[in-house]
Amino acid sequence: MKYTLKTTDANGHPLTAPIDSARREGAAYAPRTIETLRCDDHLRAVLRGEKHLLFDGGMGTMLQAAGMKAGALPELLNFSDPDVITDIQRQYVEAGCDVITSNTFGANAHKLNGAASVEDVFASAVVCARAAGARYVAGDIGPIGALLRPLGTMSFDEAYLLFKEEVEAGVKAGVDLFIIETMTDLAETKAAVLAAKENSDLPIFATMTFEEDGRTFLGTSPEIAAITLDALGADVVGINCSQGPADLRPFAKRMLDVTDKPVLVQANAGLPHVDDEGNTVFDIAAPEYAHAVAEMIEDGVGVVGGCCGTTPDHMRLLKQLIEGHTPQLRHHDPSMYVTSAQSCVTLPVAGHRIAVIGERINPTGKKRLQQALRDGDLDYVVSQGISQQEQGADILDVNVGLPEIDEVKMIQAACEQLQGSTLLPLQIDSTDPTAVEAATRRYAGKPIINSVNGKRQIMDEILPIVAHYGTNVIGLALDEDGIAETAEKRFAIAERIVDECERYGIARDRILIDCLVMTASTNQAQVIEILRAVRMVKERLGVKCALGVSNVSFGLPARPLLGSTFLAAAFGAGLDAPIMNPGSARFMDAVRAYRVINAEDEGSVDYIGRYAEWTDPYRIAADPALALAPGTAAVPTAAADSPANEDPIARLVISGRKGEIAATTKELLKTIPAMQLINDHFIPALDEVGVLFDQGKFFLPQLMASAEAARVGFDTIKAAMPAGEIADKGKICVATVKGDIHDIGKNIVKMLLDNYGYTVFDLGRDVDPQAVLDAVRERDIKLVGLSALMTTTVTSMEETIRLLHAEVPGVKIIVGGAVLTPEYAKQIGADYYAKDAAESARIAEEVFGG
């Protein structure tokens, strides 16, 4: 019985969490396996790695050789010149190719841009391929041609819908399998693989394209591609285009080392050049090409074919290579892999390696993060990710659950932004299955889901998500009866979780068990039981172990001492993934030291690099002469190096010296009330900077350095004051309008307004008019700043203004951007025009009454 998944609603909008929705409607999840695919026995044997398969070679280059214009849509030839297409494909069939790729590489609605319908292109393309006598027709799916968020502007869901349309067209046209190829963006590839998996029961082949440096344009390596696409359910993974077969061989080997799935390689025939007769030819001839492919087949590559510049001659020789040959038996050592689009954490099943999971993105007990989440301030969330990356975390846990926020939306936004600015794989942490799936579905990588436990309901909710998206999962050793007291009972729960995972096809190399740390001050006897449970779980179940270590010391003094000692003991028991604060030097010291003992830090290189110049803190404490080296502890005081009559705040703000301002502010707070310090010192200083900027005595970086310094001062004041003590000057939201991606100007305005004490909500770039209106309503905003840099995007600025004025008449709008003039601003209905950031601060003073 086929498991069909509904992925869109009645209006064709993508569902946030289709697996979770299906479960709520009572559907039992049926994992996709080779047996459930619609294909013949031969193809099934290929997917099992028992038989070779030969794809065809280049199509685009053959068409160009036949006179197609550069940049023309080759897909339209299916209608205008079907014979040309069929003729090329027939040559490939005659050369011995098993699979003919449909001429649909760019047949997505974005690229076709109305020139033809996706369905018609697939239908005509499959007719051509069938006419050529193809044994199998592969529905070809190439990149959309637009960059996905967070770096680009297209959403994952938009990409998914484009691919879904192609998959449905391919199924209808009668393709035998899908080949998703020439991909460079892991997120986009994931959207395509999911679209194929969720809207068809055909085999999925997926390849990505790597540059000479072994990375795609977006930084994905062959290992990451193979691991992630394998996990998502691609049946064959591989590499195509960019370079010749000899160059791609090492990349293919790297894939073979991390997956059991068959690997496909379709290399180019080198680089093009023009011969004496004016024909474009590629420089790797068929024999040389076949020789290099033969080596890859020796390595274990099972499926071969060609890409740019390859011809039926090349394929004919490949046919000879695989004729009567059986693919190499392959085996790779299983490991737990956790990936982002740019990095991979590997925990071998047979060995012991440590991966630090950073716990700081979790609002529990963190006021500043709670406030940032309420304000939608994702920049702060990202800063927490960046700092943990710098401190040595290997994986980032992301938990944004707060009662008053929309967690499903927030976790998606947070994961998206983190992927734009950090490289580490994420651990998606929520108790809401919808939030878990929403984030997991759109995540470019193989994350960890945190968490399931032994409760029947939780396993039923979470494990289908783990299975469908091929993720790793943490299982907490507790169940309906709570946390068990003995190691044996914890082990029993862990075993139940592992068994249940097995039913979903979730192998042990994807499971981490958290044996749950108890507090030594209240459950002292249990601490040793935890370590015993870790040992049992590791030895008897062969899964990995995670632990949130910091709880152990709760209620006792010198918590880092107890915590790091426990951490070392837990490593000894077999702990793989501590969930901890990498900002704690004490904990990280224990991690780095253990990596030496564990022979993980080869030659102790990292350890020596870090600690060669280390000063032993115990020695300092014991030697009072060292404790206070002269000069090191001196706190710079406000009056130290300035004339008595000069305002030290003004001096530091105007000269943009943020290094000293925190100490000076603290000092002044002892004698001057906070509000007075702001109004009589900081604001006049910023005003003076504004004047200097206007007069041309300061240029932009100096204005910004002053703003930076003021920010440090404000933060110092805020930290010292009880919440609510400092008057809110007013709320402003800023945005770069829909269609525009230039946001440097908007960011400068934001920074300045922020430092004048306004609460600024930054909606980002490419912001829909409706999203601006929503924010204005939700946050009760009185002033909106809009930025547009292009003549072409001023129209969407005008549209946003019109919407705001119609729906929220009292709200004032400032506009700015390179193409605007005061007259133009007036013409499109703006209330104010700001020629620069300093001007926008003055306008804000005016709007909010100074």
């Binding site: 214009k69 550069a70 940049g71 041609g145 637009a146 960059l147 010296r657 100096q702 292009m790 072409t792």
Partner: protein, 254 residues
């Protein structure tokens, strides 16, 4: 006139580290609105660090391809337009028509600082506004210098076969629409070769990217010295450089 054999194959631009262009510091500062202010040591250090990191870590990449020019056609509105033979590129507007109508060939080029640079820009923008502004300005100068290198290569290559070249013209200059971008990227295979794409509003992505046209002439160029001026610039009425009596290309206003 047929395309000379040396121009027949698309040429990649991938300078190795020793051949990479340098950020033009004066230009970078100009983008930041510099007008001779005194730069203190702290800011100086930040500028130097930013430029060093950029030059060391980011490799510009480009591709160029040359087509025969056909200036005999008209666009949908019946206005004369430029077609690049053997491609789907059709260029509309008076300014590009004037630029290429007498040219025998046109070299189309695309250049980008790539996705690592874009990621760095995004990260700084969310975390460090000042460093983001510095890095952004440095990138603008760096991509300009990269395109300038490609431009010089075209001139040298042209001179070798007795052709001369005029200055490079980009979509968005004058009345040449940005809507030409997708056809340029397609004709150069720039998405595959450089990872370059366009948004639905035809802005290039990664953002620090440039596409341009250089006209190649049989014999001397009659408007070889006709440098781009403010006269064809859309930003002219609102230009902050002009307000200070300067231009973005570093010369006095004309």
């Amino acid at each position: 006139m047929d395309l000379p054999a040396s121009f027949a194959t698309p040429a990649l631009y991938r300078p190795n580290i020793s051949a990479r262009p340098r950020v033009d510091r004066a230009e970078m500062l100009r983008y930041l609105g510099y007008g001779g202010q005194e730069i203190d040591l702290d800011l100086e250090r930040r500028i130097v660090r930013c430029v060093e990191e950029l030059e060391l870590s980011i490799e510009p990449k480009g591709v160029r391809r040359t087509f025969c020019v056909d200036a005999s056609g008209t666009d949908d509105d019946g206005m004369p337009c430029i077609q690049l033979v053997g491609s789907e590129i059709v260029l509309t507007g008076r300014d590009i028509y004037r630029h290429l109508k007498d040219a025998a060939f046109c070299t189309v080029l695309a250049c980008t600082l790539g996705m690592d640079c874009e990621r760095k820009l995004r990260t700084l923008a969310s975390q460090q506004a000042l460093d983001a502004a510095l890095f952004d300005a440095a990138c603008s100068s760096y991509i300009e210098a990269s395109v300038e290198q490609m431009d010089r290569d075209v001139r040298t290559q042209a001179a070798n076969v007795g052709l001369s070249a005029n200055w490079r013209f980009s979509p968005g200059y004058g009345d040449c629409p940005l809507s030409a971008q997708p056809s340029i990227l397609a004709a150069l295979n720039a998405s595959r070769l450089l990872g370059l794409t366009a948004t639905t509003t035809n802005l290039l992505m990664p953002t620090k990217s440039v596409t341009a046209f250089i006209g190649l002439f049989d014999g001397p160029v009659h408007d070889a010295n006709t440098r781009p001026t403010c006269n064809i610039c859309r930003l002219r009425p609102s230009c902050a450089f002009r307000a200070r009596g300067k231009t973005c290309y570093g010369e006095k206003t004309r």
